[in-house]
């Protein structure tokens, strides 16, 4: 086991509003970290900071042993090794599913078209989208679109996968088919940081769960501990509200 990603004393604010305050987190290889907490607690912002989509206001982020929060670091190089999936899928509507999936491998990683398409097709097939590769995203259901977005992120073989509430826009029936992919990736050893509202999923898949509240990681631990015996009163209150019975 080695540290793939570390975050120490991260701070992010938009003007006066502090969104992340003194956040520290360590992600080992093959870890699945689930970030839970109410909307606005900073989960999404944390993921965006990890991908260098946001400039941070203090703290250090290292990835693969190198500080990536250094302004001299080439953000594109870092992002080319990190996959990200968004809540609203963000597939490119003017491209077919297959072209969505092969864009980055071909343009960023320099993979030949035939190879990129072969890999994309095999992943699409694996995740039940075999017949949809030629279609445009808007033709697909939400669940299919999100699975396609996952495939798009996986096509570049990232070392780290960031998932930002990827099931929040789906109806319950479709949540399962998307989470099945994530589960399969977790079992295959993919390192992931996941912001999620799916508590049952987090309990099953996570190696570690972080509870975020008002921009701080209030409590972190293995899922068994966080879900059955939380230390903080605030965590207990949150879980009472989101968990049935």
């Amino acid at each position: 086991m080695s540290e793939l990603l570390t975050v120490s004393n991260l701070r992010k604010s938009y003007g006066e509003r502090v969104v992340l305050d003194d956040v520290s987190l360590t992600v080992q290889q093959h870890d699945v970290i689930c970030l839970i907490g109410s909307s606005g607690s900073g989960k999404s912002t944390l993921l965006r900071c990890l991908n260098l989509l946001e400039d941070i206001d203090d703290g250090i982020i290292t990835f693969d042993g190198r500080e990536i929060s250094d302004p001299r670091v080439d953000a594109r190089e870092v992002r080319s090794r990190i996959g990200m999936v968004f809540q609203a899928y963000n597939l490119f509507p003017h491209l077919s599913v297959l072209d969505n999936c092969t864009l980055a491998p071909r343009r960023v990683h320099g993979v030949r078209r035939a190879d990129a398409e072969a890999r994309a097709l095999s992943l699409l097939e694996k995740f039940g989208l075999a017949d949809h590769d030629a279609q445009h995203p808007d033709r697909l259901s939400g669940g299919q679109q999100q699975r396609a977005a996952l495939v798009r992120a996986l096509c570049t073989s990232p070392t780290l996968l960031l998932l930002d509430e990827i099931t929040a826009a789906l109806d319950p029936e479709l949540v399962g088919e998307v989470l099945a992919i994530v589960r399969a990736e977790a079992e295959a050893g993919m390192t992931m940081v996941i912001a999620t509202h799916e508590m049952a999923f987090a309990r099953d898949v996570a190696t570690s769960v972080c509870f975020l509240d008002q921009g701080r990681i209030l409590e972190q631990g293995p899922p068994a501990e966080i879900f059955s015996n939380p230390r903080e009163e605030r965590t207990r209150e949150f879980l009472r509200r989101v968990l049935p019975d």
């Binding site: 004393n9 305050d21 206001d57 203090d58 703290g59 250090i60 250094d70 302004p71 001299r72």
Partner: protein, 282 residues
């Protein structure tokens, strides 16, 4: 919030960011200066530069022609301002007619389609000729005969067709889900257009709209074809008498001065809308 002061690491990072920013500013400055120097040397070094300078960039001729151009340019401005108001109104009506779905309005839709197809196909200068010389020749009582009036009408007719298409493309770029959610609230199709779709469409088409208006400002010069004594006419007149075309350059400068503030104003406006509407997304 608890008091927080940046860590030494963060201070170092800020210093680095500043340094990188300074570097980009430096690169930008050097590149700009180099580009301009090369361009200037290239032009002034050309063999015919001396005579070009005399014919097109003579200070004395510029000074001499300036008062007449200054007076005439107001005619261009007046023509442009009047035409713009009517163009916006007519173009929007045509665009709305083209996207209407009511069976009652089918004839109107047909007229709108034919109008844009035909008018866009005619060179504006021909419209100016046709109207400015043709309409007074009809000798219909009550119709104005001034060339200024008919040249303005020609511009309105021509540009309404272009601008209508700009509006229509804006209307069609609004996602169908916006129609659906407005109709779901019980709004009529007209109300959907008026309150939901058009406001979004107009914002999107501001840059191409500006394009057309800058073009319109310049096309007010076409009125000279009908004998309207506007700025380009004045400048050409001066050139023909004095064998010096500097006044044309002066007029060009006037047109630039007119369009730049408009361009900056619309940039500022679109940036404002963007900031307000995309605040949470970026």
């Amino acid at each position: 919030m608890s008091e927080w002061s940046p860590s030494p690491h963060e201070l170092e990072r800020r210093r680095l960011r500043r340094q990188l920013r300074t570097r980009s500013v430096l690169i930008a400055t050097v590149m700009t200066v180099v580009a301009f120097v090369v361009l200037t040397l290239g032009i002034t070094g050309s063999p015919g530069w001396a005579s070009v300078k005399e014919y097109f960039f003579s200070r004395d001729d510029a000074r001499e022609a300036l008062p007449a151009i200054w007076d005439a340019i107001w005619l261009n401005i007046k023509m442009f301002l009047v035409a713009e108001v009517f163009i916006l109104i007519f173009a929007m009506l045509i665009a709305m007619a083209r996207v209407s779905r009511s069976p009652w309005l089918v004839p109107l839709r047909l007229v709108a389609v034919v109008y844009t197809d035909v008018v866009r196909g005619i060179p504006t200068i021909l419209l100016v000729y046709l109207l400015a010389f043709g309409m007074p020749a009809l000798r219909l009582g009550g119709l104005p005969t001034s060339a200024f009036f008919w040249a303005t009408v020609a511009l309105i007719i021509s540009y309404s067709a272009y601008v209508a298409e700009v509006f229509r493309s804006g209307i069609e770029s609004v996602h169908p889900s916006q129609w659906a959610s407005a109709e779901a609230l019980g709004l009529s199709r007209g109300q959907c257009l008026r309150h939901v779709v058009i406001p979004q469409a107009v914002r999107r088409v501001v840059p191409p709209l500006l394009n057309d208006f800058v073009s319109l400002q310049k096309d007010t010069a076409l009125a000279s074809a009908a004998g309207v004594f506007e700025a380009v006419f004045v400048a050409r007149d001066y050139g023909n008498y004095n064998f010096n075309y500097t006044p044309l350059v002066v007029v060009a400068c006037f047109f630039i001065v007119l369009t730049v503030p408009l361009a900056r104003a619309t940039d500022w406006l679109s940036a404002k809308y963007r900031r307000r509407e995309l605040a949470g997304v970026l």
